[in-house]
């Protein structure tokens, strides 16, 4: 299994199962089915439309599983729409061979802005062991995806913000510690922001971008009091990635390519 995406699919499916059985996730089977089927069908239609050589479900599966984990609605149609939106954004919002938005982030961002659906940032609870579970699973993915740099840049900056805030406010360490032990945070860092298709090509710029997303997220969470700060931070900063790639290009060979380049 050379392709790291299989590992991602495996980890996401495992997390979904864990959330379902152990944490009583608010995602009925019908919702999961709607998201997966619509995502895969949208990918198939998109592949035909874009005349890509072969239909490859892996990327669509990753987006769909991430949506299952994060997005909540009491209306299956909305979940289905979100899944189609995620995949469509890959085909329609593109620049220089890369899609601009992480598909899951795009769909969730749009759904949150319209108020049609919601995410439950605290659904994972804050027990340490579940954080460890995440970390180890995520580590597995990263070792294969070789994009640990942006995830670590983001995470360390965000943790820095949490600690600095606690220090400034004179809060007990229990507060930043609790904020760190968040499944949503790790999921975001390791499965969303580190998407190779939507991060800057050059490593130094990628790291700087990770820092930027963390700063924007910190601002939205602690100054604007937006509980969906992480999603919005990536959503609103994604459009500058094509600009960064243009200002700081890398040679074509060094651009990240999956084993079988598809959409």
């Amino acid at each position: 299994m050379r392709d790291p995406r299989w590992w991602q699919i495996f980890s996401l499916a495992l997390l979904l199962g864990y959330g379902w059985w152990a944490l009583d996730f608010d995602q009925p089977l019908l919702g999961v089915a709607a998201i997966l089927i619509c995502g895969l069908v949208a990918q198939w239609v998109g592949s035909k439309w874009a005349a890509v050589t072969a239909y490859d479900p892996r990327s669509a599966l990753i987006s769909a599983l991430s949506l299952c984990l994060l997005l909540r609605s009491d209306d299956v149609l909305i979940l289905a729409c979100a899944s189609v939106l995620a995949i469509a954004s890959k085909f329609l919002i593109r620049w220089n061979g890369k899609h601009v938005f992480n598909p899951t982030n795009f769909a969730i961002g749009v759904m949150l802005l319209t108020g049609a659906a919601w995410i439950s940032p605290a659904q994972w609870g804050s027990r340490t062991w579940s954080a460890f579970l995440f970390a180890s699973l995520a580590g597995l993915v990263l070792n294969r995806a070789k994009r640990a740099d942006i995830a670590l840049a983001f995470l360390s900056t965000f943790l820095g913000i949490l600690l600095a805030r606690a220090l400034y406010l004179g809060d007990p360490w229990a507060i930043p510690l609790k904020q760190m032990q968040s499944g949503a945070l790790l999921l975001f860092a390791f499965f969303m922001i580190s998407d190779p298709k939507t991060t800057p090509d050059r490593r130094s710029i990628r790291i700087a971008y990770g820092v930027l997303v963390a700063v924007v997220a910190g601002y939205l969470q602690f100054v604007e009091y937006r509980p969906q700060a992480l999603i919005y931070a990536l959503f609103f900063t994604s459009p500058i990635v094509p600009l960064l790639d243009r200002l700081y290009p890398v040679s074509q060979e060094r651009r990240y390519l999956w084993a079988n380049p598809t959409v």
Partner: protein, 458 residues
């Protein structure tokens, strides 16, 4: 014939989402034990867009001279943003949303005709969020300590101060000098709020006004402000608190269910069949259910006990609350709805299956119950409103066996099933409450509902 898979899935999810919609024509039996949960408080939060209305109930029983309340608020509040309301309104909302016990009576297994009746017990939690006392506040010393008295009002029986401060030491010194008993360890928490730009709402009882108004109890204080921060400050209450406290937060919103974003919100176990002695002991049973759940989750979660549109209920633990009363509880968007041309006066309509409010406005109630202490809940409660309009209630079910003579072949079958059902009920109760199975069996026996159904006696 086999059902296709998709159909089975659909049916299962529908069942999971909605309570069984059997015909409820029934009556209501209240069993409202006050103070079921010790050291508990009740807050109503209504919010639409940025406007937030917080109503704090108090069942403070001590000397009113000794009563004071200190609440961090996100903005300076003006005189007309403070109201005094009635405990009865909050109690009504509390009763309406409380976990409920539903009774069903088995039909004659030998008859085709059905006849169902039902009644419900309920319980609720209430409490006080009291701080300690004060004398009169002069402003000069305040300035020296970096405290600004932003505003000062007498509203109803309360004297109210809105304070802003530069630093926590100054604030706690001033409060102490003014006679407020600030718990040791409060200064850092006050400091954190000061740095987050919060103001402080301080209320104490104006004895003269109280005597003039003639109230023997303290009425709830309601504060309105516009803020991004959809939150409830709980940290001051946990400083120096001896053990955990309970809080019931009743949230009124325009669209859907509310949940906490920094602590997991989970549903309280619901729709469980209980042995019939539960009717007499429902209060202590629900308390045990809650205790057990909190223990199981390591006191890390916030529990959803009720989520429903205000317009109707099924079964109803209390009558639906009309718009004007909800508006008084803070749901300001219901205050003056444009009346539909054909509609008559607002009222309550009972149809088989549900009790509905005619001409109801659009509002959703969420009831959250949290047990918290400083260790497990270091942060204030942060909320978000979701688009979720799925109904949920803490609902426990009693099935009473048919009492008449049973002399058909169905009757034998019925008796057998009854035995199985009782065992399941006992096990369900044991699982929910952590009570020992033999003790439950003993109680069932005393209630003439032994676990093994004896032949000839259902």
């Amino acid at each position: 014939m086999q059902m296709p898979m998709a159909l089975i899935v659909l049916a299962a999810s529908v069942l999971a989402a909605a309570p069984p919609a059997s015909a409820f024509c029934g009556f209501y039996v209240a069993k409202a034990d006050a103070k079921l949960f010790n050291r508990s408080s009740k807050v109503v939060v209504a919010r639409k867009d940025e406007r937030t209305v917080v109503t704090m109930a108090s069942d403070y029983q001590g000397d009113p001279k000794e009563f004071a309340l200190i609440v961090p608020v996100p903005t300076v509040v003006s005189r007309d943003q403070i109201r005094i309301t009635e405990n009865s309104l909050i109690d009504q909302l509390d009763a309406f949303t409380a976990p409920r016990l539903v009774e069903y009576f088995d039909h004659d297994p030998c008859a085709y005709q059905t006849a169902a009746g039902s009644n419900f017990g309920l319980l609720y939690a209430m409490g006080v969020a009291a701080r300690d006392a004060a004398l009169l506040p002069p402003a000069r010393r305040a300035e020296a300590l970096g405290i600004k008295i932003e505003a000062q009002y007498t509203v109803g029986e309360y004297d109210i101060l809105i304070l802003s401060a530069k630093q926590s030491d100054g604030l706690s010194t001033w409060l102490t000098e003014e006679g407020y008993r600030i718990p040791a360890g409060a200064a850092p928490v006050l400091g954190s709020y000061i740095k987050q730009g919060m103001k402080f709402f301080v209320a104490k009882v104006n004895l003269k006004e109280r005597d003039r108004l003639g109230f023997q109890y303290l009425r709830p204080i309601q504060v309105t402000y516009d803020t991004h921060k959809f939150m409830l400050p709980i940290r001051l209450g946990t400083v120096n608190a001896d053990g955990a406290q309970d809080m019931v937060v009743l949230l009124l919103t325009a669209n859907g269910r509310v949940e906490t974003t920094n602590y997991r919100t989970q549903r309280i176990p619901s729709n469980v069949a209980l042995p019939s002695f539960a009717k007499e002991e429902f209060g202590s049973i629900y308390k045990a259910v809650f205790d057990t759940q909190v223990q199981k989750d390591g006191m890390k979660a916030v529990y959803l006990e009720y989520a429903w549109n205000v317009a109707w209920c099924d079964p109803c633990a209390a009558d639906p609350i009309p718009n004007d009363k909800l508006a008084e509880l803070g749901a300001f968007w219901l205050a003056n709805p444009s009346p539909a041309p054909s509609a008559g006066p607002a009222g309550i309509q009972r149809v088989p299956g549900r009790t509905m409010l005619t001409r109801a406005g659009n509002a959703f109630i969420t009831r959250l119950h949290v047990r918290y202490d400083a260790q497990n809940f270091p942060e204030d409660l942060m909320f978000q409103e979701t688009a979720d309009t799925t109904t949920f209630q803490g609902r426990y079910v009693l099935h009473h066996p048919f009492k008449g003579p049973v002399s058909c072949s169905n009757g034998e079958e019925y008796r057998k099933l009854l035995g199985i059902r009782r065992t399941l009920e006992a096990e369900g109760l044991a699982r929910l409450t952590g009570w020992e199975l033999p003790a439950i069996a003993d109680k069932m026996k005393k209630a003439s509902q032994p676990i093994e159904a004896r032949p000839g006696q259902p």
